[in-house]
Symmetry: C2
Subunit: 205 residues, 2 copies
């Protein structure tokens, strides 16, 4: 499988270099897409030599993977903070706050997430933001366990899986695919309404 990540940078100079390379990767990915992303171009854009790029990243794919990871981590951090803040809120408000936080983060990182979603050989959102989905699922599981404790394991997990699909699809649409006539904000509140209802309703509906 070969080494995915090279030795970590130790000097602050090289840490900056790594960040600059990832920033450049993001910029080029947005502009040219994955197909138009060349390591030479990334290096030039970052103001760095190709050799330096390959000192820190084993190959092109590791480079993109590192960018994906960094974006995933940043979104996850903000989302986690938002989740913690919902602790004292009632169900509907809590769900709404989390969904809003997700949309906000997707908008913040729209360019990178969109490019990875569209162009990378990494596929659908469950692969682009796996930790985010994992965290969301955990949050949602608490809801279901609280409000519908009588559900069997399979029924519960299926309901959670559907809720994840709905949440991600709706938020993605609100951010990336909103045709004329569709109000993105309304789409988000509608989704939150639906989720709050669907997650707290008892028994096999």
């Amino acid at each position: 499988m070969a080494q995915r990540t090279r030795n970590a940078p130790v000097q602050s100079r090289s840490k900056e270099t790594v960040e600059r390379i990832l920033d450049a990767t993001a910029r080029i990915l947005e502009q040219r897409g994955y197909g138009g992303l060349t390591t030479n171009h990334v290096a030039a854009e970052a103001g760095v030599s190709v050799g330096s790029l390959y000192r820190w990243f084993a190959d092109k794919q590791s480079l993109v993977e590192a960018l994906r990871q960094r974006t995933n981590d940043r979104i996850l951090a903000e989302l986690s903070a938002a989740m913690v803040a919902t602790a004292p809120l009632p169900s509907r408000e809590a769900v709404g706050a989390v969904v809003n936080a997700l949309v906000e983060q997707l908008r913040e990182h729209a360019a990178v997430v969109g490019a990875l979603l569209r162009e990378s050989p990494m596929g659908t959102h469950q692969n682009v933001l796996p930790d985010v989905e994992q965290r969301l699922a955990g949050y949602v599981r608490v809801f279901v366990l609280q409000h519908a404790p009588e559900l069997g394991d399979s029924e519960r997990e299926t309901r959670i899986h559907l809720a994840m699909g709905i949440t991600l699809a709706a938020c993605m649409r609100a951010v990336f695919d909103c045709p004329d006539g569709v109000d993105p904000e309304r789409l988000v509140t509608m989704t939150a309404d639906l989720l709050a209802l669907g997650l707290t309703v008892p028994g096999p509906s």
Copy 2:
């Protein structure tokens, strides 16, 4: 812009060639992904020379685009038939039948759709199966107009857009992303239940 499609084949011999090339494209796309798809390899797999391939397809992208189109059309045809057949059924049964038909078609073409979803520079499902989504949206619009005629344009279109997101996301998950503990069949019926409810409920929920 250049010519996307070359002159259409007139003899039956060449029509077969075109089909064989598309079949080969599908097979290689499934196995090696978009990155591993080379025109020489496609030609060899199809038992045809590269020159023949380029006689019918302007470039590599047109080739993949043609495959996408063919798959989209095939799914659309089956789905339309299923929709027509639901005319006499009551709401819940009609929605269920359509959702089931969609899942069935996605399963039938899982390999190609999955590969296009994951690996091509075409991105999310709305780009892979645009006509299918369009047709589904039309079907759903009838429902909403019937059962919630009091809705304003924006409210109605937003609701439809959400319904499309839910439907496609749920069916995609049922087919492509069903972890242990989640029952795909149950996921589909759950989705149909939710849709039948959400599309027929009156007023801004």
